[in-house]
Amino acid sequence: MIEGLLDQFRRGDRQALSRLLSLASYGEIPIASLSGLPGPAKKCRVIAITGSGGVGKSTLIGKLISIIRREHQTVAVLACDPRSPLTGGALLGDRFRMVSAPREDDGIFIRSLAASPGYGAVAENLAPMIQLLKSFAFDTVIIETVGAGQGDTAVRDLADVVVLLLQPEMGDELQWEKAGLLEVADIVVIHKADLPGAEETATQIQNILGLSMKVSPKVIQVSSKSGHGLDELWRAIQTGSSSH
């Protein structure tokens, strides 16, 4: 069955892609079995968008999708939401928030995924799924993590660029000294920058990051509401690559 689907996939059948992504998510497509697929046509960039629940990841992705489409590039999103540890159920609502994107557009593919607790804020088996999307020749693949906590750094290994979203008034200066998510970010976005306190948060983060030995990530203030900083962020994503 998988062979047949892979044949359809090679012919550019979007439904075969969709079915293969499901099988991959169940762990039924080992990444080695995808070695025969065509490589990405151009350089495909994998971008991870992470940060706490409510910080605006889906909304920001919706804005990025608009920019990407404006530049006539294609984009696939793997949007993770938490799976209940009690029932195994999940309410996958990220797609709904990416509303600024016209949803009949062939240049946009969005798959919602349930992430089990204990996998570092992403769904299982993302690697073969990313491989499939790359091979389908999407220009950009965006991974949206579950609302991520301080220790959820697993996404680092999957993405070329990790964008961490923070918002004003999230914590005192000592908070940012703690190890974890901040260390694996290539770009730190102070989101909801239209709210008071954005400047102070940006300055705090910059000061903390400046103390490390390695190349420090860019800190960009972005407001999805007003559109401020979005183009700067997209430029930074395109030029930035992993310093890790």
Partner: protein, 139 residues
């Protein structure tokens, strides 16, 4: 049913109908019953809903209509599903649907219509029974 393959269902409202309390209650109940609910929300076009079902590889689509436009919008969705080769997708309709329209909708291919007063357990049981009957809905 295999735990690794929960039922995936897209819930959406098509057309200009802003009443989403009901569909959100259903979304929550199906989530609590262990399903993966893809909530597509308000003001969807039939085209967008079908695209969502295709890209999400969902086995079910639940449409909620309280606007009276069900005899226009539901056939349109069914037609687009067929055109997209998504005949295996089961379609449920909920909301305010007059008695006399229910057989018509079912004739067109709607699996079940759930009206006001339906218990959440009824919807969950319906979906679980179906999944047990047909094994994995997809294969």
């Amino acid at each position: 049913m295999d735990n690794r393959r929960p039922i995936r269902i897209v819930l959406a409202k098509v057309g200009l109908d802003g009443h989403d309390r009901g569909i959100k209650v259903v979304a929550r109940a199906l989530r609590d019953a262990g399903m993966e609910v893809i909530y597509a929300g308000l003001w969807q076009t039939p085209e967008a809903v079908v695209r969502t079902v295709a890209d999400e590889d969902a086995a079910w689509l639940g449409l909620s209509l309280l606007s009276g436009a069900h005899m226009t919008l539901v056939p349109r969705v069914l037609e687009l599903l067929k055109k997209a080769n998504l005949n295996h997708v089961g379609v449920l309709v909920g909301g305010i649907i007059p008695e006399e329209d229910i057989p018509k909708l079912q004739q067109m291919g709607v699996a079940r219509v759930f009206g006001p007063g339906t218990s959440m357990a009824e919807i969950v049981t319906f979906l679980h029974d179906w999944a047990n009957k047909s094994g994995a809905v997809h294969d």
